[in-house]
Amino acid sequence: MNYKMIGKILALILAACAVFMLPALFISMADAQTQAVQGFLFAFLVTGAVALVLWLFSRGATKDFFAGEGMVCVGLGWILMSLFGSLPFLISGEIPRFIDALFEIVSGFTTTGASILTDVEALSRGMLYWRSFSHWIGGMGVLVFVLAVAPVSPKNEGFTMHLLRAESPGPSVGKLVPRMRKTVLVLYLTYIVLTIVNFLFLLVDLSPFEALMTAFGTAGTGGFGIRNSSMMAYTPYTQVVTTVFMLLFSINFTCYYLLLLGRIKDVLKDEELRLFFAVVVASIALVTLDLCTSAPTLFSSFGENLRHASFQVSSFVSTTGFVSANYDLWPAFSKAILFFLMCMGACAGSTGGGFKAVRVLILIKVLFRNINQALHPKRVKVIRINGKAANEKLLSGTTAYLVLYLAVFLVSFFLISLDGESMMSNISSVMACLNNTGPGFEAVGAVSNYAGFSVLSKGVLIFDMLAGRLELFPILMLFRPASWRRD
């Protein structure tokens, strides 16, 4: 392991983290919230100082940097960032317990949106900003941001590929343009522009602050709101706008780049996108139908059924976790669909979480091939994704990912069960954290939160959120002793 290089990159991550705290600090100053100002100022200074020390320690790093280093960097980077990011909550005393503060900020950075707060509205505006902003930062990834602005020499930047791969979601991460810095800039610009458009749409009905917070929550597909009732109290217009933007942010960002280049055909032919939208449309139709027939008393009109069905479908499939109506009261079939959507999640290369539509696509194809091969053992079949042959490493890697995903789920589920909540609460809370959705069902449902869990359970869920956001390997790598061997 190249510790110095890892140290250097961690220093950059922390420096970025410190800078990101500044807007919240200014807001707290403007509001004259002494507690919050103290919290942010202290956190800013500590984070900055640690970054500086790390940077000095890592001077003269060599450039030997491989996949393993990339993963360790990303895993450690996110953990450090979360630890330092929790400081403002802790020091200001607005979230007095360490585990709660950590849970809240991890939930923010991983764009989960699961909260331990019973009264969100009691927080100061600076804290609300920091919570929502953490979604926006975590959505695209901090390292990706660091890659775009970091002062790295132009020679031998091949290693940055390992960082992009480890942090970005999806089984096959590639570049849009040859230069890493440019690729990252394109991604971030797309992200910023979409966020601004979303913000402008929201301004119609909301105050600027509220619109910005909602835009952050939507863009990162996070789900932190600034009201206790999430989005239930918002106007139908705001809900519809959010529905659309949640979907837009769960599309692979490469599609937007291709659209800009005028390659609309390629976008329309994208198999993952087709699968994603097919699932979304079918789900909306089924949930609406189910609501109309099985629970006709819940909402007054078909339009309202459709609106809430689309909102909730969009919220779950994008793994945002906003709530427009208490879906816990909905019929079982609708809840089953929402649960499925939560597991599948968004497209690779988006800000959304979950298992990723493209992996579902690959697994379906592998499954069909294997059934076919059982009947015709000699048959040779190459699996094609978007017209290109997928190599066997990708296919076996995806199956392995599924197994690992289930293993993490099961172990977490057992540990959470010690708390004695209902079966569905336990399953859905683990799934909601592992897929970075946020709210689950029953005890962690639409109108509840995670405050009731024990310290152990919160720790497990924090692990799940990080593992889910970074797609398991970077976090699991840290528990592998060989990763730390000096060689």
């Binding site: 132009p154 930047e157 091949g158 290693f159 590929m161 590639g174 343009v177 040859p178």
Partner: protein, 453 residues
Amino acid sequence: MKILIAGIGKVGETLAADLSADGNSVTLIDTESEILEAGIEAYDVMSVEGNCASMETLLEAGVETADLLIAATGKDEVNLLSCMTAHQLNSRIHTIVRLRNPEYLEQAYRMQESFGVSMVFNPEKQTAKEIERLLKFPGFLQRDSFFKGRVEIVECLIDKNSKLNGISLQGMNEIVKCRVLVCVVLREGEAIMPDGQFVLREGDKIFVTAPTEQLSLLLKNLGVVTRKNRRVMLAGGGTVAYYLAQELLKSHIDVQIVEQDEERCNWLSEFLPQASILQGNAAKQTLLESEGLSACDAFVTLTGTDERNMILSLYAQNRGVPQVITKVNRLEDSKILDTLALGSVVCPRSLSSEHIVRYVRGMRNQTGAAVAIHTLAEEQAEAMEFIVEEGTLHCGEPLRDIRLKKNTLLVSIAHGTGIEIPNGDSTFAVGDRVVVVVGRDSDALQLNDIFKY
């Protein structure tokens, strides 16, 4: 600049490294996904999998907006088709094509226009040229030329009997009696940028900057016998051997080629009637001896296997052949090369890559990048040629007042037609050309990057 490299073999990979480090946007094209994978993990580049001669692949790689296509696959026909296709899709594009079959060379030059080819490169031919250059001055292990051939950096080995053994660099000028400058010393595999007090000793390899016209004087004063090569033996009869023999025969040097394959021997004999072609295994020492290895002036190993070339060279050195040249394809980076007495080492892929990098820098020269770049001392140092421009700092100031970065030397200045090996009083002005030697870890891309402030 946006550059596509098709065919990621030895040359392609070196190019990917050099061109991306130079700040270009590089896209690799190859049919093997594993090779591409290794490429994007090592360099800041993008990759496209597919056949580089097919329109679809080229379009996917963005040929329409690219500035340059380098077709470097192992197949000449594919390379040519790739260039033609690219040229049809984008008439502005420059194309560099690799051609190794001598039968195509003529038509490639004559039909350059219709093939859409801007430059042909041929690693084998370049290697042959380089070896020929080395054979002309037997005292030097490596020669790199600058200012269009008016200044060279030559590599010499200090052996036990050398006049320079145990001499400090300050004392050196009295011995060589001409103005030269030692820019790098390679001692035990490590490159050192020496100062005046540095004392040379046996086993050092020194890199000396000198005007080309003084090279023979330098050799003479160094005590190296300036004899002409009259008889050269080549081990291996591949394409390089063919080109090299052709050139050597033109300057009336006797050429013996040892080649194992009988059919190849017939071919060589047909196309090189004046050379003596020997059929047999070059690794058989009795064969080499019976054909008079010890009496040869020079021995060049050109077989397809690096290891075999190295063994043969060691043997020839051991037999006391005055000049030995070893061709190495893959093992160039290996530290072991330095520890062995292999004579001059020539690496086709680096030669081609340097040549192409120079072309690319020429294409975008307005940016102030180096116009030529040569690697020295086992790639531990680089010699770069720059043009002094309006924006260059410290114009007209004497060198002793200018602070350069660590491991950086200004080794030569060309004012118009005059060549200067600089000392503390030297200055440079706009329009001059300068050669700068920097250590490997330097990130200098422009002339101003070498100054401390």
